[in-house]
Symmetry: C2
Subunit: 187 residues, 2 copies
């Protein structure tokens, strides 16, 4: 509830959060995961270390918040009226996000967090849960229209996973033909 209020667009708290998120994204791009401290983030964002600790508690919680926000909340889920249209739009949106200016760095961050001990397992589970929830709502709409829809895990395996792996290993760009091919194969 507080969290919600704190992030209301336009508030000072929201501005601070945006500055801190941007500072994290910049540092990941420049130095890579694991090579900067809360102090570095605070300096770049122009805030006090204590503000970061008060709000996020730890560096890992902050990094997870950045990864979750960037990977999940940037684009609204499409609602084009057909599963085919929704999946194509969704896949193209994800491709744009993960190949955009900070995209590969944020994706590497999400993967690194998911692999880092107990907290990481939770971060991985949170990332998955949020993305699965979004996908399920899109697929449920299709089923309610009487369309035959794949499982959310099939979308993960055959649309998201190939794009993620290609970006993680630098096999870019993801062309429109490539993305449409993934959707064609799944449907």
């Amino acid at each position: 509830m507080n969290e919600q209020r704190a992030r209301r667009p336009g508030g000072r708290s929201a501005r601070v959060a945006a500055q801190v998120h941007q500072a994290v994204t910049d540092l990941i791009g420049e130095r890579g995961y694991g090579n900067f401290t809360v102090g570095d983030i605070a300096t770049r964002a122009g805030v006090a270390d204590s503000s970061i600790y008060r709000r996020w508690g730890s560096l890992e919680t902050l990094l997870t918040d950045v990864a979750l926000t960037r990977l999940n909340a940037q684009s609204p889920m499409p609602d084009t009226g057909s599963l085919d249209g929704d999946l194509r739009t969704y896949a193209a949106q994800v491709a744009r996000e993960i190949t955009g200016p900070d995209g590969p760095a944020v994706l590497h961050l999400a993967v690194a967090l998911a692999g880092s001990g107990q907290h990481g397992v939770q971060a991985g589970a949170d990332l998955r849960a949020e993305r699965t929830r979004q996908l399920e709502s899109m697929l449920d709409r299709a089923r309610q229209r009487g369309e035959k829809a794949p499982d959310a895990l099939d979308v993960l395996d055959h649309i998201l996973a190939p794009m993620y792996i290609r970006v993680l290993f630098g096999m870019v760009p993801l062309t429109p033909d490539y993305i449409d091919g993934l959707v064609d194969r799944l449907l």
Copy 2:
């Protein structure tokens, strides 16, 4: 050439390499990528720092060598006489490797290296090139037998990528049914 000779099984040099590789794998599992030095590796492997620098030149080169060796060279590519059999055996081998005791740590290492600057881009390219070469030879054998074979990139996208992403995000185990399902869908 020297490298080849140095790694001949049974030699002292091969034993040192094996000890150093194991030390790296242990440290990745315990501390995660980025949280240990050449000195830590040397201590655990029972060798001098200078031996590591002489052989590998830098920590990143050593880490790349470990990732390449572990992800590519552990199992011989299967040759069962049919594409269906080869792909099923190959997918099950990869699943065993990446879910084994050091598997997730090594996979996280490979991804982290692929994302770390100029050297990382090269490491990513090397990992890809080696895996693609192995796959191509298997798929070529199928084509020579008159079977219709997918591209190596399709195998990457629809068999390797889903398994990699599931392991990277802790969605394990990879069951035999799941692995066979990936192969069925591709064929």
